[in-house]
């Protein structure tokens, strides 16, 4: 997007719901989609006299992300109360962290640029309000109240909507790899607020920023930012000033509008949470988490290039999604070294095509790695051609029962009689038949129209229902035509 003499300055605040089994400060389950108000207890309902106790895994999870994003880990940190009134917040405050977050001063690298991470802190989610129930009342479900979140705040280092989505997708990939968040934006496991201001390109001073809340898809992030950049640029071009405000984004009209928020909404009166003790992360704990960090995307890609001798482009595509990378490795387990590249091609093209077309996650993909490796082996052993393999693959996709032996490509090849003809006598007789049936083409070929060989090969392939090895047909056909030429 060209804004002439203006450029945007963007920062992201991302909330990631942690994959703990129980809530941040009480023993209630974090299960998604439970019947309303069934995962609640006196602590998360904010009953008087109850005390929160911190979930150890929440600390472990945030340390994983902090270490993976090059953050400094604060050895001693505390929680704070963020005070505001809303019906889905029964205590009247959210337990969060304020001036002493656990992780700070990190960065993520995307496409060669470093995006700074100001801080990552722990907090709890609020409940859910339902407003469309009636005109007079709202309904409240407190299941989500107290579910652990971490908030990742970036520096205003992001220069375009495109870079914002690159940063977001990198962050999503990372939390999924670290196994701390399922990364599902539709279900709200990953939520994004953006801070955006526009400034003159030659100015060092930032413009007045607006915050856009709750952008729950990559597309919304891009569209909302593009709209807001345009809006703010127009205000500045007319000589006006941008008003500092919180906006909402409407995906239907692709526009932002100011939130109707109360005047003092931002006066949260943070103070140290007296009900929770300090968290102390010593070197030993940090080292332990560091040593247990899973292989991260870049490391995995590097290993794939070395171990499977695939191009770095392939390795990068295959490691985008940790589950796809695992799937690829599963396929490789079943094939010979020479077929690693073939395995990569099959996963990148055929498998990913189906995932895209059917909007599936690899976990729900019907063909298991073992059966795909059997298919690749059938090609490598010359038992079926690539084209036949695609037919078999289509058959495999039709089978929904994964345990079904019928999905085994060897079974399909046998049942559909697709085994490549290796018996040259059979191929020869097909060739002879085609020569007899196409005397004109044969004559023209002999008279120098050599490109007609392709036509004849095609006919023979058709005659053998595609089961003949095209190279064998090619060679045999040439030989036979040569002999008949001499006669």
């Amino acid at each position: 997007m060209d804004n002439g003499k203006y450029e945007p300055v963007i920062g992201l605040e991302v909330h990631a719901q942690m994959k703990t089994k129980s809530k941040a400060f009480c023993k209630c389950s974090t299960e998604y989609n439970a019947p309303p108000n069934t995962n609640v207890c006196p602590v998360c309902l904010g009953h008087p006299g109850t005390l929160p106790v911190l979930n150890k895994n929440l600390v472990e999870f945030i340390l994983r992300l902090g270490l993976a994003t090059n953050c400094t880990i604060r050895d001693r940190s505390i929680f704070a109360r963020k005070n505001y009134f809303y019906p889905d917040l029964p205590k009247g405050y959210q337990i969060s962290q304020y001036d002493q977050p656990v992780c700070y001063d990190g960065y993520l690298e995307i496409e060669g640029s470093k995006i700074g991470i100001t801080r990552i802190h722990m907090e709890e989610d609020s409940g859910k309000s339902i407003h469309d129930f009636s005109t007079d009342d709202s309904l409240v479900d407190l299941n989500r109240c107290g579910v652990p979140l971490i908030e990742i705040v970036s520096e205003p280092d992001i220069k375009s909507p495109k870079q914002a989505t690159e940063y977001l997708s990198k962050l999503k990939q990372l939390v999924v790899y670290l196994d701390i968040c399922d990364g599902n934006m539709e279900e709200g496991s990953l939520r994004c607020d953006v801070n955006i201001s526009v400034k003159a390109k030659d100015s060092k001073k930032f413009g007045t920023k607006c915050e856009i809340k709750n952008l729950n898809s990559f597309k919304n992030v891009t569209d909302a930012l593009e709209y807001e950049i345009k809006r703010q640029t127009e205000v500045l071009e007319k000589g006006g000033g941008v008003i500092h405000q919180t906006m909402t984004y409407d995906a239907k009209s692709k526009t932002t509008s100011p939130m109707r928020s109360k005047e003092e909404a931002h006066d949260y009166r943070y103070f140290p949470e007296p009900d929770l003790v300090r968290v102390f992360v010593d070197q030993e704990w940090k080292n332990k988490i560091k040593s247990e960090l899973p292989e991260l995307p870049e490391q995995k890609a590097e290993r794939f290039v070395k171990q499977y001798k695939i191009p770095s482009y392939d390795a990068e595509v295959l490691t985008q999604d940790r589950a796809i990378a695992d799937y690829f490795e599963n396929v490789c387990k079943g094939v010979g070294e020479k077929s690693f590249k073939a395995a990569s091609n099959w996963v990148m093209t055929e498998v990913m095509r189906v995932l895209n077309e059917e909007k599936l996650e690899i976990a729900d993909f019907r063909i298991n790695g073992k059966n795909l490796s059997i298919l690749i082996n059938l090609i490598a052993e010359g038992k079926i051609s690539n084209n036949i393999a695609k037919e078999v693959y289509a058959e495999m996709l039709k089978i929904t029962d994964l345990s079904d032996e019928k999905q085994n490509p060897e079974f399909i090849v046998k049942e559909k009689n697709l085994l490549q003809l290796t018996d040259s006598a059979e191929i020869e007789s097909a060739i002879k038949k085609i020569i007899n049936e196409n005397p004109n083409e044969v004559k023209r070929y002999k008279n120098g129209e050599t490109k007609l060989l392709g036509f004849l090969v095609g006919k023979v392939m058709k005659e053998t229902s595609g089961k003949a090895n095209p190279k064998t047909v090619n060679d045999l056909l040439k030989q036979i035509l040569l002999i008949s030429n001499l006669r």
Partner: protein, 97 residues
Amino acid sequence: MAVTIHDVEHIANLAKLKFSDKEKEKLQVELNKVLDYIDTLNEIPNLDKVEPLENINDTENVFREDVPEKCLAKEEALKNAPDKTENFFKVPKVIDK
């Protein structure tokens, strides 16, 4: 820093409380007294070198293991609510946040 009437109104608003003008004046006086009393702390020498005490308890790292346990039954959870439906807490309409 003296508490003004405007501060009193601001705090009352945040706490969702309403006061008459007379009550506001009274609160202004009282709040100022409280702050003056707290200001006594400023008499301590080298106060800026004293670390704030965040918690009276000097222990660290009190954790629970991440094991979910049975929660309250829905009926129990909703029992004390001033208003409810079969499954939800019911509150006066809230439109914005």
